[in-house]
Subunit: 484 residues, 2 copies
């Protein structure tokens, strides 16, 4: 995939031959983003922000249902604080943007723009926690972060990005571990049931672990080009940050203990996964639960008659009142151009309203998830039934898009037991290559050097086996794939 | 008012003798904020963020109802872009935090952390607008900004703050002017009907105008110490930014014209106004529409019986189901301590449930907006009627708090026609001092030098008059006051 220095093509090329070219083009053409006049940054335009708002709302509701509250911690972190957790700073220092001047004065200490907020959150939790009664602390924040990346791509890798980061502190390790899994499951739920992107969940290998964590868990989606995409992570931080930032509490027996902390995050990267997984040669296909516009009404105005316009406006009012996110397209364009435009933007339902339709008391409803001419792609719906029929169709589209994506994931998940076959398949990006694995860093480094692939995530191994990649005893099952 | 270097008192002092000390103490004591380990920054804790979420939601709903969409523009602005609008850069350069290093590399060009986003938004609008068909552009963003302030106070003045900034571009001056007034009216609506803070709206004087604007309008609230607080601004930017950033369009006759732009913003400063206006010696008083918790249930558990606990849990479930933002306080504390705690946090309604109440089939409901012993402060409400009665009481509390604040504002708005009296009253912080004014910078500078007060905002003058401050012919009516 090209970086942001690549020119943006005027037209969107077909998706299958070159996913990268298609992705880059559709992100701009559908007005999800614009390139910003700052290296590696994007502007999230209203249609793209509409996707983000849907994702935010789905996550935020689930965070609150699981007992979390939102808060806001500062953007700027003094260098001396950042350097207290050794592994963490080693992991993040190369990516930090530094503020060295405030107004006209040089600063005595550099301030990091947060690449993530464990440091500042840990510092505050140390002040807020004295007793076991103060635990757990269950906080999330919706913020921007900056990581000084060399190469960038819309949504997938940008210098600045929007995300949420959850930070919790607990009295016991088991409670912290439960939290890590609970939030990983929230990510699975939102990825699959809202974004219609099927994922595999599991633990990351040591080399892919968050800097400063004992265990990192992820959800991994599979893109149409056979590359995996990590779409959310949840970290068991053990007592590492509690010790570095002094988060201590008196337990029920007045003994002083360090807290157990977790963190977990999902970013606008999830939107990149959604775009790649669902799009087709005609452009975006947005699953209804994520769609800023669920249905667009296109009046087919012919001659001087404004009959279609009047009917379309009435219909718009009716559907809006019924709670549908609906748009009425009255632009001075040919209907065919409007159809292509809204298909490109991935709106799940198109409602055409012409003189013939009106004469018969129906509207023509077209599903974006089906191919042209496919059964059920187009139907005439009596106007009186339109709002209930739209709701049914949106549910059907959501389910169909998830089923399509799941079929792709499953048909591209390949259990392999032969070493040569394994190396061949990961090199060819054949999908999620599933093997018994030794879990050794040397083995993973060798696979990476040979194929550019790494383990995506790990899960328990049933019974004894040898590592397909190297022949040593296997300890886990792992998905291997090249990754975004 | 003390800056953030001042020690935070352990107890909250009474409000009336020293508003500053009270304000500083209550912000921390009620766990709205914590001091961050970065000079001039605060952490917005969950209870404070809950206030912010209510304000956000009220504003966001109104922005969308008036046709605006949300988007996100980058945090970092290259220095060469920032300097293109001369007045704007002059106004903001002294307050800019500069990023000079990314990862391990020094940057070839410094990047400003946005103090506001006219520059980056204008740059993008220039790319997006070609034809009159592309106008208007009506965009808002919810973001953090950084201004390198010397002295800081929670909410009122902090290095980093959260706000929304709206940015619009229009084909005509009159359309842009309508937008400026429309959004000013949204601010009045939210301040008065959501935050229950009465305000005066009007135009700012030249010296108080936004850097780069032709006209700035504001809403101004009056604090109990007689100082005014600017709580929202709306700017008519004319074609200044369009010319500096090249926002041009072909009109219906194919003639190329510069667009007319506006911007408007409200920040978490509004929360500071709410705290000062409504609080009393017992702590915060939060108007129901802003309250993260509308009602708290306190079971009065006596002896070994858990009758009150069981009844309180049932009541909690009922009220929650009815859509109330309700909290059940089952902490191991004396009821009296809980009462004081929730009063301090400003929860509008307290519902006490003890054995006597239960025996009579009622709960004791206590209003936070009334004084202890005041008529209607406390009432016994039959359990079956509780959820509807709570809804009624919350409406009554919202109305009463607004009425109280409006009475204060009106009784401290003083029309003055005598020069000596004018100087005396503004010096004494007697309130909003309302005079016919000449609108001259020299006159305002003189008033400021003598009294620390400035004009808050201006409105048309009815008939002829002389300026009360200097005796020259008056051109407007103006409120003068010392300001936060």
């Amino acid at each position: 995939m090209t970086g942001d220095e690549a020119p943006i093509p005027k037209e969107v090329p077909p998706k299958s031959p070159d996913l990268s070219a298609w992705y880059n083009a559709i992100c701009y053409k559908a007005e999800l983003v614009s390139l910003a006049p700052v290296r590696g940054c994007i502007v999230l335009r209203p249609y793209g922000y509409g996707l983000w708002e849907r994702l935010q709302s789905a996550l935020d509701q689930r965070f609150k249902e699981t007992g979390h509250e939102n808060a806001y911690f500062p953007l700027l972190i003094p260098e001396s604080l950042l350097t207290r957790e050794a592994e963490h700073v080693e992991g993040f220092a190369p990516e930090v943007a530094w503020v060295t001047q405030g107004g006209n004065e040089p600063l005595t200490e550099r301030l990091a723009i947060r690449p993530t907020s464990e440091v500042i959150v840990g510092t505050m939790y140390a002040q807020w926690v004295q007793s076991y009664r103060d635990l757990p602390i269950l906080i999330n924040q919706w913020v921007n972060v900056v990581r000084w990346e060399k190469r960038t791509r819309p949504f997938l890798r940008t210098l600045e990005f929007l995300w949420q980061e959850g930070h919790t502190a607990h009295a016991t390790e088991s409670e912290a571990n439960e939290e890590v899994q609970r939030m990983l499951d929230v990510y699975v739920d939102v990825a699959e049931n809202i974004a219609a992107v099927p994922v595999y969940k599991g633990e990351k290998s040591a080399s892919e672990r968050f800097a400063g964590a004992n265990h990192t868990f992820s959800i991994e989606a599979l893109m149409p080009d056979g590359r995996a995409l990590q779409a959310g992570t949840s970290h068991a931080l053990g007592q590492n940050f509690a010790k570095a930032y002094d988060i201590k509490f008196a337990d029920e027996n007045q003994a002083v203990q360090y807290a157990w902390t977790t963190s977990w995050g999902m970013s606008w990267r999830m939107l990149g996964a959604l775009i790649m997984v669902h799009g087709d040669d005609r452009g975006l296909r947005i699953p209804p639960k994520m769609a800023p516009i669920e249905a667009v009404i296109v009046p087919i105005v012919k001659g001087g008659s404004d009959e279609a316009t009047v009917a379309a406006r009435e219909l718009y009012a009716t559907l809006k009142k019924a709670g549908l996110r609906v748009k009425l397209d009255e632009r001075d364009l040919r209907p065919g151009n409007k159809f292509a435009d809204w298909e490109m933007r991935g709106v799940p339902l198109r409602i055409e309203l012409g003189a013939n339709d009106i004469a018969q008391g129906v509207a023509t409803v077209v599903r974006r998830d089906k191919l042209k001419g496919e059964e059920g792609a187009k139907s005439a719906v009596p106007l009186a039934e339109l709002s209930s029929r739209c709701s049914e169709l949106l549910i059907a589209i959501q389910a169909n898009m998830f089923a399509q994506a799941r079929t792709f994931l499953h048909s591209h998940t390949i259990e392999v037991s032969d070493r040569a076959e394994f190396y061949k398949l990961v090199r060819e990006r054949a999908g999620m290559i599933d093997i018994p694995w030794c879990e050794r860093g040397e083995c993973e480094a060798h696979v990476k050097a040979e194929t550019s692939a790494t383990s995506r995530n790990l899960r328990p191994l049933d019974g004894a086996a040898v590592c397909v990649a190297c022949g040593e005893p296997a300890r886990v099952r792992a998905y291997f794939a090249q990754a975004y």
